[in-house]
Amino acid sequence: MSEFTLDDLREIMRASTGVDEGVDLDGDIADVEFDDLGYDSLAVLELCGQVGRRYGVQISDDAASEMPTPARAVEFINTMVAKARV
């Protein structure tokens, strides 16, 4: 499997939790806090569930606190995916 990218995350964000009016997911969102993008902790939890199911990895509920921004989420998810592949 190729690396998990910000675009993969964007697609899952759109499909799973929707997008606030006035938020441009295609913009430079990598380092914008999820909160500022309109994604509360429950939304991040839902994102993690979607990613977990799609990529066959287990992301704990505590992981949400370790991914405050999309860039950190992508980094964390790639770590998880790499671990799962070993």
């Binding site: 799973s16 939790t17 929707g18 009016e21 429950l42 939304a43 839902e46 569930g49």
Partner: protein
């Protein structure tokens, strides 16, 4: 969650004691303590919007059709009232759609419509003085079914995070509160079909204890296999194949009722507050309310409905002769119809007051039903016309009521009574008065 104020009282009926006196009430005008309805939002099988609904009701145009939210072929009930042409994306912020059930989508849309109708911009009002109290009977059943399917088909990790908030009875109240920044007292009443009146009763209470505005009423939507199967357990849904003959309250051929989705959200304010905004009495005044609870099955004590009606009239300081029209519950279940007809005949005399059940056009909307009846009754008062009950043709033996059938009946209307009964013993009654007589007809709202 708000507990139902009277439900702990067994079959005792009482109106809620109010902190402010009502000594100055007369039968034709409200006092500053009587709330008024300044905004209505309707999403019902009869139409999306107040005007569409009211036109359909007066035309006797039914919103009942074959269920199309799922394939009902293998179910004993295949007809229901469904909101026509509703697309959540037209009414609900994109983020909220996958987080919430269809019933909440309907509630959010109706609330926004009601606030616009009341010319309220919540951003301009103190957030802690705006309250939200809705009625719900089924919760987020359709959403929950979808998540349960994922659970048993795929496993626990497939259940979405939003199930935790979407199914819950208070979800619609909470989402309305969040969307419009209303941080005053919020709650939900779960009293099946009586809940719409109980929510308005609670809203009235909040207006008397510091809230400036209450978004109230209710919606419900449980037209999915899980929801329908749950409803079937009471044995009261009609399996008659002809949608025009399936739900015939008070008729000799009554065979139960059909379900429906939707409801109405109302904006309530104190009469003084509404007047200060130039809204007059809006659509009308909520003049009286009472709730009661039936004795258990097999008891030799009488049902609570008669006393519930009498207490609501007393609370409004009106007598039976002052009531010009009754919007009945009309269960469509022979024994329930007979009990309601008897209660009405005992209070008003045999055929003593016009009675109507416009909900034959929508089916029973559970948590949304009585709120829609209140909206319809207010429109009836405003336009001086009693909408007819489409369907029934021959009153059942013992139902000594003046049921308005065939066509609407013009009448000078000052006071309306709305009656609602919920499965399990809930009874509620609400008295409405038309806006002050110095307002010309057609100026309501």
């Amino acid at each position: 969650m708000v507990s139902r104020p009277e439900s702990e009282c067994g079959d005792v009926v009482k109106s809620i004691p109010m902190p402010t006196g009502k000594g100055a009430v007369t039968s034709t005008s409200g006092t500053v303590t009587d709330p008024v309805v300044t905004g209505i939002g309707v999403l019902a099988p009869t139409g999306a919007g107040v005007e569409a609904h009211w036109h359909a009701v007066l035309a006797g145009k039914s919103g009942i059709s074959r269920i199309n939210r799922f394939d009902p072929t293998s179910y004993p009930v295949r007809f229901a009232g469904q909101v026509p042409g509703f697309a959540a994306k037209d009414h609900v912020p994109g983020r909220l759609i996958p987080q919430t059930d269809h019933w909440t989508h309907l509630g959010l849309a109706a609330a926004a419509a009601a606030l616009a109708d009341a010319r309220i911009d919540p951003a301009e009002l103190p957030e802690y003085e705006m309250a939200v109290v809705t009625s719900s009977s089924s919760g987020g059943t359709e959403f929950g079914q979808h998540e349960m399917e994922r659970l048993y088909l795929n496993g626990p990790s497939w259940v979405g995070a939003y199930q935790s908030i979407a199914w819950f009875y208070a979800a619609t109240t909470g989402q309305i509160s969040i969307r419009h920044g209303m941080r005053g007292p919020c709650g939900v009443l779960c009293c099946e079909q009586a809940g719409g009146l109980d929510a308005l009763g609670q809203a009235r209470r909040l207006l008397r204890t510091g809230s400036r505005l209450v978004v109230s009423g209710g919606t419900d939507a449980s037209l999915c296999p899980y929801g329908l199967v749950a409803q079937l357990t009471n044995g009261h849904l009609s399996t008659v194949e002809d949608p025009a003959r399936a739900y015939l309250p008070f008729d000799a051929a009554a065979s139960g009722y059909l379900p429906g989705e939707g409801g109405a959200i109302l904006v309530l304010e104190s009469a003084a507050g509404a007047a200060a905004r130039g809204m007059g009495h809006g659509y009308g005044i909520i003049a009286g309310y009472a709730a009661g609870f039936d004795p258990p099955p097999g008891s030799d004590r009488p049902p609570a409905l008669r006393r519930t009606i009498e207490r609501a009239l007393a609370d409004a300081d009106v007598g039976p002769a002052d009531v010009d029209v009754v919007f009945a519950d009309g269960a469509g279940v022979p024994e329930a119809d007979l009990a309601e007809a008897r209660a009405l005949a005992e209070v008003f005399g045999p055929r003593g007051v016009p009675v109507t059940v416009p909900k034959t056009l929508t089916g029973r909307l559970y948590g949304g039903g009585a709120a829609l009846d209140v909206a319809t009754a207010l429109l009836s008062l405003c336009d001086s016309v009693i909408p007819h009950t489409a369907g029934p043709t021959h009153l059942a033996a013992g139902c000594e009521i003046d049921l308005v059938t065939d066509q609407p009946r013009d009448a000078r209307l000052n006071t309306a009574l709305v009656v609602a009964r919920g499965h399990g013993g809930f009874n509620a009654a609400l008295v409405l008065r038309r806006p002050e007589a110095d307002r010309a007809e057609g100026e309501c709202g």
